[in-house]
Symmetry: C2
Amino acid sequence: MKRSLNTDCKKLVGKEVLIKGWVYNIREHGKIVFADIRDRSGLIQVVDETGGLSGVKPEYVVEIEGKVKNRGERYINNKIETGKIEIEAKEVRVIETSRDLPFEINKPKLDVSLPVMLDYRNASLRNLRVGNIFKLQAVIVKAFREYMYKNDFTEIQVPTIVATATEGGSQVFEVDYFDRKAYMAQSPQFYKQIMVSIFERVFTLAHAYRAEPSVTTRHLTEYTGLDVEMGFIDNWMDVLLMADGLVKHIFSTVKKECGQILKDYEIDVPKTTKTTPVVKLTEAQQIIFDRTKRDIRGEPDMDPEGEREICKWAKEKHGSDLVFISHFPTKKRPWYTFPDPKIPDETLSFDLIGKGVEWITGGQRINNYDQLVTNIKKMGANPTDFEIPYLQAFKFGTPPEGGFCIGLERITQNILGLENVREACLYPRDMERIDIRLARIDEKKQK
Amino acid sequence: MKRSLNTDCKKLVGKEVLIKGWVYNIREHGKIVFADIRDRSGLIQVVDETGGLSGVKPEYVVEIEGKVKNRGERYINNKIETGKIEIEAKEVRVIETSRDLPFEINKPKLDVSLPVMLDYRNASLRNLRVGNIFKLQAVIVKAFREYMYKNDFTEIQVPTIVATATEGGSQVFEVDYFDRKAYMAQSPQFYKQIMVSIFERVFTLAHAYRAEPSVTTRHLTEYTGLDVEMGFIDNWMDVLLMADGLVKHIFSTVKKECGQILKDYEIDVPKTTKTTPVVKLTEAQQIIFDRTKRDIRGEPDMDPEGEREICKWAKEKHGSDLVFISHFPTKKRPWYTFPDPKIPDETLSFDLIGKGVEWITGGQRINNYDQLVTNIKKMGANPTDFEIPYLQAFKFGTPPEGGFCIGLERITQNILGLENVREACLYPRDMERIDIRLARIDEKKQK
């Protein structure tokens, strides 16, 4: 018999089916056993009186032949809905057994600390609520590509091993590259900029590496960037509007395809308006002062309290959960950021803030070779170190261009309102963990 | 005026347009200047009598306003076709200049060695023929995802920094991870297998790293894998058929969307048949012996000559450019490969061979914890080193599963018939190059 997916059984009421999956919940009531079977499509309840499910434990892999029956009402087992149908088992085959689980994984919400959740990642991911984070993440990635294709962007593959640590020397991982030192790229920035002169509009899903020597709720040492770069812009607003359109497309796709996941997390995607408000940093600081009398005017950046307050303002004044802050000071942005021709101390750059946190960072870049060389010298670095592959590209003609980056784990965290970015990463890396807790490496060495 | 793309001008004959792009070819004939302008859509010829293009050199970035004129015949400038229309310039604006190029980049075929091509990557990629390699590569990636989505696979993001070098100790890059050693993953193998127990069917575009201490035409130290893994298979043929369907979808998409590129490279995608032939390694060796009297029977693998001969056989006998070789010996495949229950010395594994070279490698994996532990011990390793995250996943129920990998650079190389895999990688890394030729690092140190 051909396998049916659990959700397809809805259309097969009265029919004999073969389903395959993992035992999620199992409850023995004498000779009757109830089990919820998980497959990639969802859960279904099986009622077994054949004895085939006796002694079977959670996460056993089973094949079940049986008849689909309509129950007319929705089943809620252990607070998890399993739909309006069930399967009456005719034959049960155990394909693989499972050892005892480290914790109960079939709860609506896992009741373990984050470190334990990560110590037993293959157990915790089997929890539907936890696994759904990454179903939603896959939808974000799909929506990202859809939008880029629609706007005529070409996907590129960018290397991650680099010869020179260029963006902030200390927070970079060194690699033993044969008899030399190399580095793990801190971003695909240089490569995506170079590629503008080939395809005008490029995007990449790139891993990037930051040797952040601290463990916070917002930093990973390896993360995934949704990186975009576009040439022949009229001005920096073209870049901002592309970012705005992308994030709105991601939200609407997630809302459409992950409605139940959002419901389970008791959250909705941010509310957007046709025109997302854009305020200069200095204006934002003035707005905050006017509203709260807290004076951060003259500061070179927004602080977290300021980000929350400007979001409140955007919501009250414009009905938008999102707000762009623009024109960050030249000294706070990377040296390749385009200065405002009218106010050279300010840059044509932006952050997208939503629900009090940062979602996107971007801006126009300098596309003139001489200006880049001047800026490299100004920060005390040697242009020769940037010559290949970066500066070389600007020796030939490069059009006005800009781009932005969305941290994939960060946007997943923000959409679901997760407390820690690690929850939004399948296998998060930080100072203290590469799958195993790193202390264990030391323990091993001591033996 | 709103910008028009070059290819859109076909529909705008008689209209005034604004185009933007790079000067590809330029030919001054007294007061008349002819220029081919490159943008992301292709080339268009501009005829300028305004003087605006005088003194302009290749790769200058320009904006041109003018009138679209129909010429009735196809233009071939410098052996490159620019279509049946041209633009009569009314106004030319130079946006950015270009320094002298290191070689002539506007030839139909670049006339420089591969090392020079890579030394000046941002120049060589501007050559249409070279750039088109990566347009085609982007189409391969798009087709890959389309096929995976259609077959209900979920895309996952897999980490590349790992705690233990597990697959072949010597050819792995070490990373200084704070005060410890970590490693760059040689493949996403373990993670994609683990994820089968979460989503059943997963795929990932993963960078992988091999410290190959040799410089060949077929190896990169950093490459991109199109990785697929699927659970609840009935047997290994399910995996093979998925790989077969994917590669055929890639071919048909490339043929449809990159017809002109294939024509320029004077090549067609491999010819496939409804049922791609599958032969066991031992059968293939017998076929080769029968055809050529060359005796490689009993060898544990195919040699390049054998791969070419079996491809000739598949073409003659089945009309197929592709052929699967299966049942490689247990000792030649990784320890997690599923042995044939009937002949335990052979594995349920396969390679896809086409045009004499390997395209895909895959097979069924062992999904039983005890069997994996036995195999790890058999090869003299310590199961503890594989416990997290890998073996842990098999302590809980894992269904029968398998998967495969396509090297993105390799398939790009094979489709276009490129001599060296480096040509199919935007920024190839090897022992001797990370963008710059690594010898130069030594030279710098000596100063």
